[in-house]
């Protein structure tokens, strides 16, 4: 016997002699494969990063503008009076606790296209902190700087400070004058200097200016501060001081009905990222995940298929199935790893572009600017790399298992179809998964304590619908094949050939169609969601916008409560000739159960037809419920919006306690109405009550009804010339604006969806290339039978079209189911809006057309190329 020991494990040898050499030899293919994986990872990572940057950038700088505070004290509603600050200092006695009052408001710079500016007032010390924090100040002369922090609020020109982005985007530099509009006020200030950027910190938002606190109070006529930041000393005493001070602060907060929060807690309640928008991004990252997985699986499967025969030879030489599987796992891991690293680089770049788009959307919606810096966090990198590696691994596992278990003789038989993905052939599994989806749609949402509700069951149902649908896709191949045969006629060889391929779909056909169906299904479902939103919103706007003119303070946004119209102002407008009636609304931001929401005070009265403008979901019934003026059960009657009802789990008939500067008030809810304009929810009471509670007669906005025959444009002109700082909009303009903002919200969606569909179609091309390589012998036969290159190409085109049609049918069916889940399950659970289901047929048509045309083109090209390669080899 030869000196042979027992047999050895061949894995590492396979790696160095087979796998590695394949990579080198076919380096072009290897690069393509790496790029595809990288693309999958990049799409996934970039959406996550952009999403995260948009969400976390939100209000981040302002939270930390005065340094790292330990706590914030803020009122549930209204302001903290100036005298309370002194009181607070007194109560804390000798404890070395830093107290930094902050005034925060919004305004608009005249001639700046109505871009809202956040104006933050800080006191001397905090201002210095902010400067230090930012890493110095540039621009101003040293005495101007001293002036800024000195008691200079008696000057006619108040100094403001901003970051680089602010000054650059508006072309304002140190020393320039600018006119700020606060509600109906107009003040002139001077740019005192530009704060330097600190590279280690989030950049200073481009819409932020800092002002000396007393000056700002004077300019805006505020007799209190928005919040007080509390800082404990560093060092040995810290814990002791913290312990003693917390107790006192707790007590004071309790007495005054204020909130004592850590910055983290605060951030949670501030980050009012639109639920629709968040949902949007969640679905998009889901889409990226699925499309990315699909791409990677396609690419890896193609690589496995190409080496099927080689696997068979290896096995015929005695390599065990386990060794073959191991070598594929190693290969999948290595390729996945390299592709993912590349993907992280590409994804980082993509995210930079994307965050700009998302940031613009957020800006349009909330007048908040995100900090544009994308931070490449290790966690995110690992997560998306893990995704890439896992997807590559799963992608090789299924075909490698097949390659390892199929008897080698079968694999060597040329022309035999690949074993394919057995799972995609299991009808019962598809049906079971869809049933599971239906069942999970019944699971109630998971409510995080004082946080948003997470529609777990809804998301599960969505995933099940998509997966189940893509498993069932196989059933459409036969009908499509039959239709193709019929259309092509008996004698048309190409269509008959293509039809015969579709009649017995290989695993690759199924995988391709499934991938296409997933991409199209998710895109189309988003289309359904958007269309349903839009039609509901349009109908709602039609119904509620009945007045002729709308007037608000300059730079007013729906969630801000300080840009107001003083009593005199709105009285004068009301008395202008041509005005037959007005509705006024005062909005206050307040905090209930740790969540920010809005209190609306209106002059609604039950004898006005105008009250019917509300879209009721649960209308006030009798006259006592309809009358907001009279106490109901000894409580102040209030109406709530649908979002409010969901966020605070109250509905018509319930009571609640509202914190006000005049102490807590008991309210009784007598009506529930639809409001698609405000996701924070709104609670409406009569203005007669809030006048007393807030000692405030100003309003936020007013709706004017004109006498018959008066021209709204004319009146708008008159108002604008009398009050230049006010924003006056006609009915038409407001409607257009609302819809424009709406479309802006979904602008990112459309762009990313387009990318997803394109990626899916290129996946189709890749898959066809794989199919043709697999059918090498058949192509040679076709050529030897006299088929021209063009004929082979058009045969491939027909086959590609067939797969695309199957993908489209499946995709649209998936989208109906998914759309239903989004609108009837996820939407009501996550932000409680009632929407009407609407299918955007035009968009579907365009989507189908684009898919078919691209698929045909890609398939033809792939067929053409492959036909050439074969003939070369034959010669």
């Amino acid at each position: 016997m030869p000196a042979a020991t027992e047999t050895v494990d061949a894995t590492s040898w396979l790696w160095s002699h087979i796998v590695w050499r394949h990579w080198l030899r076919e380096w072009k293919l290897t690069i393509v494969l790496l790029l595809i994986i990288a693309l999958g990872v990049a799409v996934f990572l970039s959406i996550r990063l952009a999403n995260k940057a948009a969400v976390s950038g939100f209000g981040m700088f302002t939270e930390s503008v005065s340094g790292e505070s330990d706590f914030q004290l803020r009122p549930s509603a209204g302001l903290i009076p100036n005298r309370s600050l002194r009181d607070l200092r007194h109560r804390l006695g000798s404890l070395p606790v830093g107290l930094f009052p902050v005034v925060e408001t919004t305004g608009v710079i005249a001639g700046d296209d109505e871009r809202l500016v956040r104006v933050i007032g800080l006191d001397l010390v905090a201002m210095q902190n902010a400067v230090n924090y930012a890493g110095g100040i540039s621009g101003p002369q040293s005495n101007a700087q001293r002036e800024a922090v000195g008691p200079t609020f008696l000057n006619t020109d108040t100094l403001v400070f901003s970051g680089d982005a602010f000054s650059q985007s508006r072309g304002i530099s140190a020393g320039d004058e600018l006119t700020l509009l606060f509600g109906d006020r107009e003040v002139t200030v001077e740019m005192g200097g530009i704060l330097a950027e600190n590279p280690n910190l989030p950049s200073i938002p481009e819409n932020l200016v800092l002002v000396d606190l007393p000056s700002l109070q004077q300019l805006t006529d505020m007799s209190g501060v928005s919040r007080i930041e509390v800082r404990f000393p560093e060092g040995a005493f810290r814990t002791e001081v913290e312990f003693d001070a917390s107790e006192i602060l707790d007590a004071i907060a309790e007495e005054n009905g204020w909130l004592l929060e850590t910055p983290e807690q605060r951030k949670e309640s501030v980050t009012q990222m639109s639920a629709a928008f968040r949902l949007n991004l969640t679905i998009l990252s889901g889409l990226a995940l699925l499309v990315g997985t699909y791409l990677i699986m396609q690419a890896m499967e193609a690589a496995v298929i190409k080496r099927r025969a080689e696997m068979a030879v290896l096995r015929s030489l005695g390599v065990t199935p386990l060794e073959i599987r191991k070598s594929w796992v190693v290969e999948g891991l290595a390729i996945g790893m390299m592709g993912s690293v590349l993907g992280v680089v590409i994804g980082f770049g993509l995210a930079q572009g994307m965050v700009g788009a998302i940031g613009r959307t957020v800006n349009t919606l909330y007048y908040e600017t995100t900090s544009n810096a994308i931070r490449l966090e290790l966690g995110e990198i690992l997560f998306s790399m893990g995704f890439g590696v896992l997807a590559s691994l799963v992608a090789v596992l299924i075909p490698a298992r097949d390659a390892a278990l199929t008897p080698p003789a079968q694999m060597m038989r040329r022309g035999a179809p690949g074993g394919g993905l057995l799972l995609l052939r299991q009808r019962w599994l598809g049906i079971a998964v869809i049933l599971a989806g239906l069942a999970s749609s019944l699971i109630p949402p998971w409510v995080i304590k004082s946080g948003p509700a997470v529609p777990i069951g809804g998301y599960m149902a969505a995933v099940f619908m998509v997966v189940g649908g893509s498993i069932l896709i196989g059933v459409f191949f036969r009908p499509v094949s039959r239709a193709m045969r019929q259309i092509g006629g008996r004698r048309e060889a190409r269509s008959r050939y293509a039809a015969s391929q579709l009649a017995r779909p290989a695993g690759r056909h199924l995988l391709t169609a499934a991938g296409l169906a997933v991409a199209i299904g998710m895109s189309a479902a988003m289309g359904i969601l958007v269309a349903s939103f839009e039609s509901t919103l349009t109908a709602w706007i039609q119904q509620i916008l009945k007045a002729d003119l709308y007037v608000s303070g300059g730079g007013n946004s729906s969630v801000d409560n300080r840009s107001s119209l003083a009593f005199d102002t709105w009285q004068r407008i009301e008395k202008m000739p041509g005005v037959s009636g007005v509705d006024v609304l005062r909005q206050y931001r307040f905090t209930l159960d740790g969540k920010d929401t809005v209190l609306g005070a209106s002059d609604y009265s039950d004898d006005l037809d105008r009250t019917l403008q509300m879209v009721w979901l649960d209308a006030p019934r009798d006259t006592s419920e309809k009358n907001l003026l009279k106490l109901f059960d000894d409580k102040t009657p209030a109406w709530i919006s649908e979002s409010f009802s969901r966020r605070f789990a109250v509905t018509k008939g319930d009571s609640l306690t509202l914190p006000t500067p005049a102490g807590p008030k008991s309210l009784s809810i007598t009506g529930l109405y639809a409001d698609y304009g405000n996701e924070a929810g709104m609670l409406v009471v009569h203005r007669n009550f809030t006048r007393d509670w807030f000692s405030d007669d100003s309003i936020t906005n007013m709706a004017l009804y004109l006498e018959a025959g008066s021209d709204p444009e004319e009146l708008a002109k008159t108002i604008r010339s009398t009050f230049p700082s006010l924003k006056v909009q006609t009915n038409r303009r407001l409607r257009e604006d609302s819809l424009r903002i709406f479309h802006q919200t979904f602008a990112v969606t459309y762009a990313l969806e387009g990318i997803a569909v394109l990626i899916a179609v290129s996946g189709l091309g890749l898959a066809l290339a794989g199919l043709l390589i697999e059918r090498k012998e058949e192509l040679i036969t076709l050529k030897s039978l006299g088929s021209t290159r063009k004929e082979i190409a058009s045969g491939a085109m027909l086959e590609g079209l067939g797969i695309a049609v199957v993908g489209l049918i499946g995709g649209f069916l998936i989208s109906f189911a998914l759309g239903w889940v989004l609108i009837e399950v996820i939407n009501p659970q996550s932000f409680g809006w009632t929407l009407t289901y609407r299918v955007p047929w035009t968009m579907f048509g365009v989507l189908a057309l684009i898919t078919l045309v691209t698929a045909a083109a890609v398939a033809y090209l792939v067929g053409y190329r492959n036909a050439e390669v074969k003939s070369d080899r034959e010669d």
Partner: protein
């Protein structure tokens, strides 16, 4: 002891029976030609014997090993040690040089480096590809590829070689040379051989010819 005992072997694809109770025996070192029209099941029979396909019924015994009793790994070990296959389409591994292709089965068996080297050198000489030993398969002619495939098959010193139309893809002159090579080497190493062929010429190196017809074996003796 017999090199191979096949008895009442059956195999069908779907509902189509391919092998119908095939029985066959080979003595040690014996060379047998398997002939028959195409599609009659010759390759299927060879694949079952080589353990790269699974029969439905009957039994195969190679040496003293009963294939029916082996699992996938067992079959692998059989292929590593006892049975080699030479294919019509050569099936060399494209990323390996000539030398590495021949060496590969020895690697799998864990043969030590020095001995491996020695055996490979000898085989390279025996099949006459000394000048091409560092070339890769795509640089070889058909005859050269088949020589390498034969060297690879012989490297493990198998008890039996299964050759499926080894000269089917070669011109007649090259085919002749390959046949001579097979004869010499199987004599030298006392290797039994079952060889599928369509050509009467080829049978000259065989002691027996069996004919496959419609899934059954008809034995015919020929004068050698």
């Amino acid at each position: 002891m017999k090199a191979l005992q096949v008895s009442r072997l059956t195999k069908s694809y779907g509902s189509v029976p391919i092998l119908k109770e095939v029985s066959l025996t080979l003595d040690c070192g014996e060379r047998v030609a398997l002939m028959g029209p195409s599609g009659s099941g010759k390759s299927t029979l060879l694949n079952c014997i080589g353990g790269i396909d699974r029969p439905d019924g009957g039994s195969i015994q190679v040496g003293q090993v009963d294939l029916g009793a082996l699992d996938e790994d067992g079959l692998c070990h059989l292929r590593r040690k006892t049975v080699s296959t030479v294919f019509q389409f050569f099936h060399l591994l494209p990323t390996l040089s000539v030398r590495e292709n021949i060496e590969f089965p020895l690697h799998l068996r864990g043969v030590e480096a020095t001995e491996r080297l020695e055996r490979v050198e000898k085989l390279i000489k025996e099949v006459g590809v000394e000048s091409r030993s560092e070339a890769y398969p795509h640089e070889l002619s058909g005859g050269e590829m088949q020589r390498v495939a034969i060297a690879r098959a012989l490297s493990i010193r198998p008890r039996m070689i299964l050759a499926d139309e080894p000269t089917g893809n070669l011109d007649s002159k090259t085919g002749e040379a390959i046949l001579d090579l097979l004869e010499t080497l199987s004599d030298r190493h006392e290797t039994a051989m079952l060889m599928v062929t369509h050509s009467r010429e080829v049978t000259r190196i065989c002691s027996r010819v069996v004919e496959m017809r419609d899934g059954r074996l008809l034995e015919e003796d020929i004068a050698v």
